[in-house]
Symmetry: C2
Subunit: 134 residues, 2 copies
């Protein structure tokens, strides 16, 4: 069922500083910052040869990233996103197996304009898992 790792997301308190770490210190290719108010984040994409790292800074009051950073003020790995061919089939299989989907259980349009779901970390080894239909 699982396809590629679409991205690994890292929550950061200061996006400009985090971008400099990846661009200047680690020598990676990074995108311009993009504000995504409907997702409560500003994001910079770090483009690696086989996948992406996404640096997420909170945007707005209700950002889930802000809550994460209260517990980990320096930042940290926030979630991992796997690609799936059919997100509804994936959801139905997971729910039938007892896994919990966050929110109302229906896909919403994610930061890349494609349908996504988030799975409960307690069912996936303490790791927040995003599924994205590609």
């Amino acid at each position: 069922m699982l396809g590629k790792v679409n991205h690994i997301a890292i929550a950061v308190p200061d996006l400009a500083a985090a971008t400099a770490v990846y661009r200047d210190t680690l020598g990676a290719k990074v995108s311009e910052a993009q504000a995504l108010p409907e997702h409560g984040v500003t994001v910079v994409f770090v483009e690696l040869p086989n996948t992406k790292v996404e640096l997420l800074e909170p945007l707005g009051e209700a950002s889930t990233i802000a809550a994460f950073l209260e517990k980990a003020p320096a930042g940290g790995m926030h979630h991992i996103c796997y690609e799936v061919d059919d997100i509804l089939a994936a959801r139905d299989r997971l729910v039938a197996g007892g896994a919990r989907v966050l929110g109302d259980g229906n896909p919403r349009i994610g930061a890349h304009g494609k349908p996504v779901l988030f799975l409960h970390p307690k069912d996936f080894l303490g790791t927040l898992v995003e599924l994205e239909q590609v």
Copy 2:
């Protein structure tokens, strides 16, 4: 400088249960478990089309994974490993830029039989970063 994401490591308290989550619930291809006593872990590789997830269970008394799990008993994302062409050149560039390398600063042979270094999470957005020469 940064090449591919070689793997994303997830620390888990129960490797058999974690393997079942990835194999049965998520439908991914997983390896047999491999004990790596010199690294203080037993590992299962989850093979995705573009990279790997490594499930790490503590092995032995001095495992750094055990310390991680004391703070996150359900498990969690432990580190991200990036490939580099020349680990000594990478190390020298990072140290010159003020970043801290864990241990004595010299590469050791990692779980894949190749030279690796770990970088201090405080210098990399709260994320433990492994570099592996490939």
